[in-house]
Amino acid sequence: MRNIVLERIVSLFLYVMVGFALFLLFRGHNRPGGGFIGGIIAAAGFLLYGIVFGSEKVLEKIRVNPRYIMGSGLLIALLAALIPMTLGKPPLTGVWTSLAGIALGTPLLFDIGVFVLVVGMIVSIFTNIMDVLKWNS
């Protein structure tokens, strides 16, 4: 059964959730937040969207196959481990540069990797479960 009010609210709410997740991601190094929490919240937004519209619509919304999202998340996190190794430091050491006054470093890269990985993983889990349960019909 369709519910217009719910559909409108959820499709707006998805952007709020993802925006808040990104806010938590970038806030994460010094204050509560970080890649994992942000990823969970973004994925919760997609989950809500999926419950209302079905899993196919979620995959349309994301456009990329979740497995590539997961893979690229792992790759980004691995880069964050390997970049310090190329500079002769132990893996996962924080290497910082500054770009226009904003400090950028490998911990942020690692957090972004975790964020992407978590979003990909949870979306892939729940779309698969929904397909098995035939949630769309």
Binding site: P84, P90, T93
Partner: protein, 502 residues
């Protein structure tokens, strides 16, 4: 820098396998990555052998706070042997795993196991050890149920539940230990324990929980039931990989914990460990004699051979530990090769029931020789590597005045020989019986894609050659194991090495 590579190299391959799932030639990329891993392990061993120990602080945080990766002689040897086992399994899998399993991430999860195993060998931090255990277990759960045949699913449920419970024991123990000691770094805990005259009794629950966790993972006697119920269900190469790597990680961790913490309360732990070792040896070998399935016989033998290693640990003399380390390394290789031969038998005959099989020596003499070498190495016949391991262990047992356990080990050796001779007679020697008493059950579908090189034969043959070489040229290996045992007996070196900051 090289000590981080055994962890990151499998991860890099996993990402590759994840992103390019349908890449043709992934078998060869996997074999290449396994070879690279072997090279890394050799370099690590050489470096450790010259310097004694190698460490790395992840993220450059100093020792008790950051995560330590540390390789001493024991862990370097374990990384090397598991790299050999893994490479043989990868070469073997090119022919023996069907395309459906390959494209559903067989290589992805195999490398997950390798990453978890290498990480566990190198971890210098208890919680990190737990995380590597979980990496390894997650990958092994999936490989166990991979393919989704009914037997596999049943085996996977048993394997999964019991291994999860062992993880809970381990984590609960870590929680209690952290609550008492306030640190997770193994060297730091050991140093704080040394300050006590005797082991504080409130730590005993934590160590008993951790010990039970390791004992379930290592399939020691009261906790072994998951192993024979599940190891014969997945494809042969997966069983070979599991038999070579998984239980051994539990035993390795037990050795590490005993040398660092538990020996300070040895009047409690030593008799317990010796009893468990003796019971594991006897019960494993006796239950194996009553089995009539090739892989089940070998699975039960894992339990008895794990008992040998734990016996060397329980003696806790230099000779005993050296024997245990040698036996552990030998057992990883011989056991894997015995399972690889079982896989070939299954591929040719479609069954592993000993009563149905026969004539294998006449049809495939080379494979019969491979089995002969690995099986009689397990049974401990000279000049194969198993003889050296058993000789060292029994000699150490007699020198330590523990005659009971030494004679148990000797006695169990005869039973092992009996089981191996039984397999040899039933599978390789006797005539195939005319009347087939039981229906043939297909375990894994195999596709016979023509390949230029007979990878199965080469990998099993290489393992057989390694077994012979390790038996004939045992002197440098035994010397290395003795050095490893000496450094285990001197935990202060390990502690100082981890805690000193450059």
């Amino acid at each position: 820098m090289i000590i981080a590579l055994p962890v990151f190299l499998p991860l890099a391959f996993m990402i590759f396998a994840f992103l390019f799932r349908h890449f043709h030639g992934r078998e060869y990329v996997a074999l290449g990555a396994a070879t690279l891993n072997l090279l890394v392990a050799v370099f690590l061993l050489v470096e450790v052998n010259t310097e004694g120990m190698v460490k790395m602080q992840m993220g450059d945080w100093p020792a008790p706070y950051g995560i330590t990766l540390i390789a001493d002689r024991l862990s370097a040897l374990m990384v090397l042997v598991s790299a050999i086992v893994f490479m043989a399994a990868m070469a073997y899998s090119i022919q023996s795993v069907d395309t459906r399993r390959k494209s559903f991430g067989f290589y992805l999860f195999s490398f997950g196991i390798l990453m978890g195993v290498n990480g566990s060998f190198l971890a210098g931090d208890i919680f990190n050890l737990y995380v590597w255990f979980e990496v390894m277990l997650m990958a092994s759960f999936i490989l166990m149920s991979h393919g989704g045949e009914r037997n596999q699913l049943e085996g996977a449920i048993k394997y999964l539940i019991l291994n999860l419970i062992s993880s809970f024991f381990f984590v609960a123990g870590i929680g209690l230990l952290y609550g008492k000691m306030g640190t997770l770094n193994m060297a730091d805990i050991a140093q704080k324990l040394m300050n006590f005259e005797t082991m504080p009794p409130e730590l005993n629950p934590a160590f008993i929980l951790i010990f039970v966790g390791f004992a379930i993972k290592g399939a020691l006697v009261p906790f072994f039931f998951w192993l024979p119920a599940s190891y014969h269900t997945p494809p042969p190469v997966v069983t070979a990989l599991f038999a070579g790597l998984l239980t051994k990680v539990g035993i390795y961790s037990l050795i590490r914990f005993y040398a660092l913490f538990l020996h300070q309360n040895s009047q409690f732990w030593q008799p317990l460990i010796l009893w468990i070792a003796g019971l594991s040896m006897v019960i494993g070998v006796i239950t194996a004699t009553s089995q009539f399935e090739f892989r089940k016989v070998l699975s039960f033998h894992i339990i008895s051979q794990v008992g040998y290693v734990v016996m060397g640990l329980g003696l806790f003399t230099v000779g005993g530990l050296a024997g245990a380390i040698f036996f552990l390394a030998h057992n990883m290789i011989s056991k894997t090769n015995a399972f690889l031969v079982a896989g070939y038998v299954h591929r040719q005959k479609g069954t592993l029931n000993l009563k149905i099989l026969g004539d294998f020596y006449k049809e495939h003499p080379l494979w019969a020789i491979f089995f002969f070498i690995s099986a009689f190495s397990l049974a401990g016949l000279p000049p194969l590597s198993g003889f050296i391991g058993k000789y060292l262990l029994i000699k150490a047992g007699i020198e330590a005045q523990q005659l009971g356990i030494a004679f148990t080990a000797l006695f169990v050796g005869f039973f092992t020989l009996f089981s191996m001779v039984k397999i040899w007679m039933e599978v390789f020697w006797k005539k195939t019986p005319d009347k087939i008493p039981a229906p043939i059950i297909k375990i894994a579908l195999l596709d016979d894609k023509p390949v230029n090189i007979n990878w199965m034969k080469w990998s099993s043959g290489a393992m057989a050659i390694i077994i012979i070489l390790a038996g004939v040229f045992a002197t440098p290996i035994v010397e290395y194991c003795t050095l490893a045992a000496e450094s285990l007996m001197q935990p202060s070196d390990y502690i100082n090495f981890v805690l000193e900051n450059n």
